[in-house]
Symmetry: C2
């Protein structure tokens, strides 16, 4: 399965993956998933929002019980790694194969899920599929989302061969419906070096740090870069630059995270002082109070500098995610007997969205020797991936029994 | 004429002009110019590089003498102002009309020039048309230039209805040929407030400050913005931000100019530490030694910071323009008797390229009450524009007599 997926959407120039949702490589992977489900005799169900579930449904009344859901996503950030997302989907299918080899007959349905548009790499909302499925994001708002080319979400879905008409008609999803889904278990490559430091191939997640994305609009005045004296300028690039440095410093001092990784400049000409610089800050902290303090400090420092630069700063929180605690009972039941470490993460996941919606949820991490993620160096050794499949299979066997 | 040009290429959202060379609005203005030339019985000549000259050629042997060339350009920066370029072209045509009203019979040809792609807003070389015409830029290098969409210059020219085959075949231009052009006079909106401070509607230019465009490539390591500890990062955004601030400070202290107005980030994702940030520095100084000192200081400060950030900085000078002195005799002959102030400028112009190629060249500036340029606020009052036309007509009448 890994051999089938590895070449899809890989950019030769960077070695990174470009699997933006509802287009090209990501659509190819959806087709691959549908074929993999069909090859296993799993019944593929699509919800109105582009989420897919391949169900292994036992005969008789057991088939109508709330099921165990596992899986992850197939989209990537721009120039992302191979493992973030696909490892959870491939491992889930491999775990199904293991259970069948073991002769397991599930006492409730087992579903392998592909949740749509997790990364927010095309439309500016992360975990789009799970947020729509849980109702955390209403379709009425999502349908207005546009990508960088101006394509609206429903049009992007239609262009990818999906049918947004059910969503338009107000239909919901059963991915977070307690009558259909008893619990969710997501396996994911670790996005840090915690398991490396602990010498463990597999671990479980305790929860997710609160985090948010904040759009910083710095507005100044466009001017000729040659003829305008430095002291006559209102250059928003300066305010941006100082704010990006301040964010880094504040986060470093507080042991939190703040990143300006995305910038857009208008008019973005070499010989023009910009009229506007927009930077997006990704901020995460170990507590909600810590996150608020961090963001407040950066906004305050940026606004002070704007006053000195003659520019204006406007900050819009585009998405703010509260702290998530995964189901402690479920996590303890899975990790405890196996001696797995239980560690927090600062990365958002569909598992977090489902947990927030009340679905009992746990996560497994597979060791990443580089600790690097969202980049081509993201990695997991084959032995660790196989340990992850074995761990997932053991957990699922326990949950469906 | 102004009414015909004003709506072309104006973006409703910003009020700025988007007349990128060899496309859309700029091509429309070329057609408008051809019609304006035809309406006046001027003979339109196109050189192999997209430069146009509308010739008013006297009968008999005077028509074979080297001519007086005037004009400017019709392309703009992204979201530029209405006056930078078109004012010189429209004023030149209006000056021809004045001379004819006065019954002037020229004793040598008078050409109104539209020089191509002056702003460097699409292909990364400013004054592309005049550089090609003078041989300052060989076609063999220019033909490799690509715009942001990857379109090569010859393909862009062909798509705009121009024919690059003459350039491909090695043909040259007569725009800077001393047998065809005796001198060049460019009228331009002022890009500063010198004439405002002096209370003059029209002035002449003494010369152009040396200036250059330098590409700063900051390379780091892509990482997940949530999970990578601040101290484990190699974030090129920080190095860029500090360098942009340092450039501003160095230029401010030295009374020179340095601007980072254009930035590209890879992968440019909110939740990814960038692998690369590229910023373009526009730098100008009142002497070549001053420019070298300014650039050296910024590169040194940026490199020092790169060492602390674990990133790398590579600097490529994309174009460096030596100081230009306009023809002192010509300038004195035109400005002296009329009492016009003679001021330097920090902006590059086709006039500077022609002057460097040995064409006796002068420039006239028309007062700009805002001092703003390359932006929608760029302005000139109607009375000042008419004063510019009268001044240009007087100069041309003297030169063609």
């Amino acid at each position: 399965m890994w051999g089938a997926c590895a070449p899809v959407g890989r950019a030769a120039a960077t070695g990174g993956y470009r699997r933006l949702p509802f287009a090209g490589a990501e659509v190819e992977l959806r087709h691959w998933f549908a074929e993999a489900a069909a090859a296993r005799g799993l019944a593929l169900a699509a919800d109105p929002f582009g989420n897919l579930v391949a169900w292994w449904r036992p005969e008789g009344p057991d088939g109508a019980r709330p099921g165990v859901l596992t899986g992850s996503h197939l989209d990537s950030v721009v120039d992302g790694g191979a493992f973030d997302g696909p490892l959870g989907v491939v491992s889930a299918l491999a775990a199904v194969d293991r259970l069948r080899e073991r002769g397991v007959v599930p006492a409730r349905p087992l579903g392998v899920a592909v949740l749509a548009a997790e990364e927010g790499s095309r439309f500016p909302v992360a975990c789009l599929g799970s947020r729509l499925a849980t109702g955390a994001l209403p379709w009425e708002r999502a349908r207005e989302l546009r990508d960088a080319d101006g394509t609206a979400l429903p049009d992007a879905m239609a262009a990818a061969g999906l049918d947004p008409s059910a969503a338009e008609a107000g239909a919901g999803s059963d991915v977070a419906d307690p009558d259909r889904v008893a619990c969710f278990l997501e396996l994911h490559v670790e996005q840090g070096r915690d398991l490396v430091d602990r010498g463990a191939a597999v671990g479980a997640a305790s929860g997710i740090w609160p985090h948010g994305r904040y759009r910083f609009d710095f507005t100044g005045r466009a001017d000729h870069a040659g003829t305008t004296r430095m002291e006559d300028r209102r250059d928003p690039m300066l305010t941006y630059a100082m704010t990006a440095l301040a964010a880094n410093k504040q986060a470093r001092v507080a042991g939190q995270r703040a990143t300006f990784g995305r910038v857009e400049v208008a008019p973005n000409g070499t010989n023009a002082v910009p009229s506007r610089v927009t930077g997006w800050m990704d901020a995460r902290a170990d507590s909600e109070a810590g996150l608020a303090e961090l963001v407040d400090a950066v906004v305050r420092l940026g606004s002070d500098r704007a006053g000195r630069d003659g520019t204006a700063l406007d900050v819009v929180p585009e998405s703010v995610q509260a702290a998530v605690a995964f189901d402690a009972d479920l996590t303890a039941r899975l990790a405890g007997p196996r001696g797995w470490p239980v560690v927090p993460t600062a990365a958002g996941h569909d598992a977090g969205v489902l947990a927030e919606a009340g679905v009992p949820t746990a996560m497994l991490f597979v060791r990443n020797p580089t600790g690097v993620s969202h980049a081509p160096d993201e990695h997991a050794e084959v032995a660790d991936c196989l340990a992850g499949v074995a761990a997932l299979a053991d957990c699922l066997q326990e949950l469906v029994s």
